[in-house]
């Protein structure tokens, strides 16, 4: 059991479908410092494949993905 990840910013994107979760996080990540972490909450099942694709392309890192019922929690670390 790893330590819980401490998020510097939480973004509640529940109920928003494609492309909003990725669009909003790509804006939100500019509001945290490099090395800081965003916790994104989404109900879009597409996010499970979209966020890793976005992170690979934008050069950021998905630290962890949790799924609790219909809510997906994604921890994203700003790398650059």
């Amino acid at each position: 059991m790893s330590d819980p990840i401490k998020a510097d910013k939480v973004m509640d994107l529940k109920g928003l479908p494609c492309p909003m979760p990725v669009v909003k996080v790509s804006k939100g990540i500019k509001e945290v410092q490099v090395g800081q972490v965003i916790e994104a909450l989404t109900t879009d099942p597409g996010a499970l494949t979209d966020f890793p694709a976005w992170a690979r392309t934008s050069g950021n890192e998905i630290l962890k993905t949790d799924q609790d019922g219909g809510v997906i929690k994604i921890y994203i670390k700003r790398l650059k």
Binding site: S26, W54, S58
Partner: protein
């Protein structure tokens, strides 16, 4: 010694030439789309891809031509003087994102109304909202001058969009040549 220098100078000149040619061919991290269709579903897909591409760190350029231009008309603006054909075209073509129809299952407008209700229910952004978002994200819109002229659309009847200009096919081709992705929708 002087001869050697001359050879080096010639080589540098040749390299500069090659470099200039190569930089003209470099693909930027850019998406170019042609929005030819004026159908609600197709144009919505265009804007979802465009805004998604900005999120992925890409520069985005959209070229609106033919039927696509109807989407960019502002329903609250008046075009001013037009001749009879222009007036007829203007009246028959959709005026703005709110009045475009689905490419399938329109069923005299019923299908489109149902789709819009569903979109609202499922929180899918409307076409108007997507255009506004694209503007905020810096998506560049070019409008085909020839189609504008053909359909007698006036610049004064276009929506207020922050990055909109008017161009011809060469501008699109230049952008497309430098884009990693080009789509025709």
């Amino acid at each position: 010694m002087a001869a050697e220098l001359e050879v080096i100078e010639q080589q540098i000149a040749a390299m500069k030439e090659q470099l200039a040619e190569l930089s003209g061919r470099v693909q930027e991290n850019k998406l170019s789309t042609v929005v030819f269709s004026g159908d609600l579903d197709r144009v919505l897909a265009s804007f979802i891809i465009a805004t998604g591409a900005v999120a992925m760190g890409m520069e985005v350029v959209m070229f609106f031509t033919f039927w696509g231009i109807s989407v960019l008309r502002d329903k609250n603006k008046n075009a001013g003087e037009k001749d009879l054909m222009g007036k007829m075209f203007g009246a028959m073509l959709p005026k703005g994102a709110g009045s475009v129809k689905l490419s399938k299952m329109n069923m005299g407008g019923m299908g489109t109304t149902m789709m819009k209700t569903l979109m609202k229910k499922k929180n899918v952004a409307s076409l108007d909202q997507m255009i506004e978002l694209a503007g905020e994200l810096g998506v560049q819109i070019y409008v085909c001058e020839m189609s504008m002229d053909l359909m007698e659309f006036k610049r004064e009847e276009m929506i207020d969009y922050p990055n909109m200009s008017f161009c011809g096919v060469a501008k699109f081709l230049e952008e497309a040549m430098h884009s990693k992705i080009q789509l025709f929708i």
